[in-house]
């Protein structure tokens, strides 16, 4: 299929999941005839009916809890949170119950459910619509957290998430919903625990995920024109982390920069740096750099570009690792 947007790829994955498994259900705010505010569920209610795809009242805590209850009854719920910051009311249900239910029941109950959350900034939005909450979820044991960076990955990872027997927080990079790619579908589900080298290089590894993968690729292209060869790894899974793929890359390049939109402080980069530093201490040529937001609430949109990672900031960080 040609020119498929990331949003459409997600829609196709949902469609194929609804079609192939009659236990898959989908719900959230405005997912019915509106098709969600980003149109990811466009046309699904019309095709599959109101018992498979339905609007809920405006209450994220119970949207998550409904997924728990229905999963326990043997459905395969895919719940939608409308925006990142609006997933916070569901936090208690996700962290205290969904993440712990399998443990609590001695393994008897599987939480086979997916919570989809658009996340990230760079869309010029007002407050509460540009958050990067991945660390909250990745820090919670019992959850799997994945995020695609391309239409093809969006399709494969979402199918993989729906088929996985454990609860998956599926983070959708909202600024990339309109990114286009030619993709082959139907395609098999992708494994949820594998990072991918998306560009090979020699001099340093850029570690990115979700919205920042394209930014890192841009930086790598710019770097090449300046004579620096950069490898780019797309994490795809934020929990668990595919440290084998990361370590193999950094073992080769000996330098690394982690890039995310979330604040650097206590961000996912901190964990990645700690693990690489521990495992590759004698291989590294320089401290691993991190590029991300300052320790501030997400700024007003007029200023957001100043705080989001861009190719220049990434290349400056690369320079710091090379000049060390």
């Amino acid at each position: 299929m040609t020119g498929v947007t990331l949003g459409k790829a997600l829609n196709l994955a949902l469609h194929d999941a609804l079609q192939s498994d009659s236990r898959v259900v989908m719900f959230g705010e405005d997912v019915g005839n509106l098709g969600g505010v980003f149109r990811v569920t466009d046309g699904l209610q019309e095709e599959f009916g109101r018992e498979r795809v339905f609007n809920t009242p405006l209450a994220e805590a119970t949207i998550a809890a409904l997924a728990l209850g229905m999963a326990m009854k043997g459905f395969r719920p895919v719940a939608e949170m409308q925006f990142d910051a609006f997933s916070y009311p569901s936090f208690q249900q996700v962290t205290s119950n969904i993440a712990k239910y399998h443990t609590r029941t001695g393994g008897a109950v599987n939480m086979q459910l997916v919570i989809r959350i658009p996340y990230g900034g760079n869309i010029g939005a007002i407050e509460q619509h540009s958050e990067s909450p991945e660390t909250y979820y990745a820090h919670t044991a019992g959850l799997k957290v994945v995020t695609p960076s391309t239409p093809a990955d969006a399709y494969g990872l979402l199918l993989g998430a729906i088929k996985d027997p454990d609860p998956v927080i599926f983070l959708e990079p909202k600024a990339r919903y309109w990114m286009r790619q030619d993709i082959d579908i139907p395609a098999p589900p992708l494994p949820l625990d594998r990072a991918q080298v998306v560009r090979e290089g020699r001099d340093a590894t850029l570690i990115a995920y979700g919205p920042t993968v394209q930014t890192a690729l841009l930086a790598a292209e710019q770097g090449e024109s300046e004579g620096v060869s950069l490898e780019v790894v797309d994490l795809r899974s934020l929990s668990p982390l595919d440290m084998d793929t990361l370590a193999a890359s950094v073992r080769k390049t000996r330098r690394a920069v982690v890039v995310h939109e979330a604040p650097v402080f206590m961000g996912l980069g901190a964990e990645i740096v700690a693990q690489l530093m521990h495992d590759l201490f004698d291989v590294l040529e320089a401290p691993i750099e991190r590029v991300g937001n300052a320790t501030i609430p997400y700024p007003p949109s007029r200023f957001e570009k100043l705080f989001l990672p861009d190719a220049d900031r990434i290349l400056e960080a690369v320079d710091r690792t090379r000049e060390y």
């Binding site: 509106l34 009242p57 405006l58 007002i126 501030i296 200023f303 100043l306």
Partner: protein, 370 residues
């Protein structure tokens, strides 16, 4: 202490019906209640004037968004009676906790509309000092401001102030846990809160029937205080009922829920496409002059012989001037320095954050020098 908190010394038998009985089965002020409310011609003209101004400002907000001057606009046309009626019913010493659509309330409180728009231009997250206007910031996460109002009202009660707190929210908000918890706390603490539900029958694409089984107004009873459902297109009714509710709260009789029923005549926001979920025909019953808050108010004024062309023209003229002043203020608004985002995080910022600010500043300077 706990006892003092939970006793309701001033609660009287029969109070619970006094507010509900202000309106008839259609949610309109009864003739007796209208007589008792004794709203003067000047007060009614003031309600009319602010509604006309605010509708014009709403139109200008939409224009500004379409012209690229605003990132987003959330129209409130159809809400004029609810917002203006409620805001003007509160005393200047009372407080208001708005939701994101309560622009007209902010204007009624005297906040410069051009400054408010800087939020929707992406220059700032908050454009006024709440203490200066007794008007809390717009809150975007639906329903979360409702318990804030209860907390503030409990504080007013503990400080023995005669202050009422109005909180605005849509009907969608009544589905949230925060809303129910706030209603319960308000009942338990007998907090001086007026809960104003601006039921516009849509939460983005979700119609009220998919949001709520039963009636919002009836939920008040479950929390132990009165609820009243009013026609949200009649400003006199909204004004008189909210004024009575605020008085009830101020006098220590506890909270009141006012459900104001009207209709969202425009898209949810400029990012929304309502053609995907409703038709023009859905709007028809709400488009006539009998449902238009401004027309209805004009009609009431005419019945009192308090409306003439000179007045109407002067108000329309003023609305034009206010709209163009709002535009000018917005367009002239200088963005704050980006560094200010660091200064606004804490009252007492840690040194580490100030170091981050300095790094940011020097990176900006380097960037600018290139």
């Amino acid at each position: 202490m706990a006892k003092a908190l939970h006793t309701h010394p001033q609660a009287r038998e029969g109070d619970d019906n006094s507010i509900g009985s202000l309106v008839d089965a259609h949610g309109l002020l009864t003739p007796e209640a209208e007589r008792d409310a004794a709203v003067s011609d000047d007060q009614l003209r003031e309600l009319y004037r602010m509604m006309v101004i605010c509708r014009r400002l709403d139109q200008e907000g939409l224009n500004l968004q379409r012209q690229g001057e605003l990132g987003l606009w959330g129209p409130y046309v159809g809400h004029e009676a609810a917002q203006v009626g409620a805001a003007l019913a509160m005393e200047s010493t009372d407080w208001i906790f708005p939701y994101y659509r309560d622009f007209a309330m902010a204007v009624c409180r005297g906040i410069d509309p051009g400054n408010i728009l800087t939020i929707f231009r992406g220059l700032t997250h908050g454009a006024w000092n709440p203490y200066e206007y007794r008007f809390a910031p717009f809150i975007i996460p639906v329903g979360t401001q409702v318990p804030h109002a209860v907390g503030f009202a409990v504080g007013c009660k503990f400080d023995h102030e005669q202050t009422a707190v109005l909180v605005g929210f849509g009907e969608g908000a009544t589905s949230t846990g925060d809303w129910h918890e706030a209603m319960n706390f308000a009942g338990v603490f007998q907090a001086p809160v007026v809960f104003l539900c601006e039921n516009n029958q849509w939460a983005i694409s979700v119609p009220v029937e998919e949001q709520i089984a039963g009636r919002i107004v009836d939920r008040a009873a479950g929390y132990g205080f009165p609820g009243v459902r009013v026609d949200g297109t009649d400003v006199l009714t909204v004004y008189a009922v909210v004024r009575a509710a605020a008085q009830h709260a101020r006098q220590g009789h506890g909270p009141v829920l006012v459900e104001s029923v009207a209709y969202r005549l425009q898209a949810h926001t400029t990012s929304d496409d309502p053609t995907r979920y409703r038709t023009d025909a859905d709007l028809d019953p709400w488009k006539g002059s009998d449902k238009d808050p401004i027309e209805r108010c004009a009609e009431r004024l005419r019945q009192r012989n308090a409306y003439d062309d000179t007045f109407a023209v002067a108000v329309a003229q003023e609305a034009e001037e206010r709209a163009s002043a709002m535009r000018q203020t917005l367009v002239a608004a200088r963005p704050p320095h980006p560094e200010s985002v660091f200064d606004l995080v804490f009252a007492n910022p840690p040194a580490s954050l100030m170091r981050e600010r300095d790094e940011f500043t020097s990176s900006l300077e380097q960037g600018g020098a290139e």
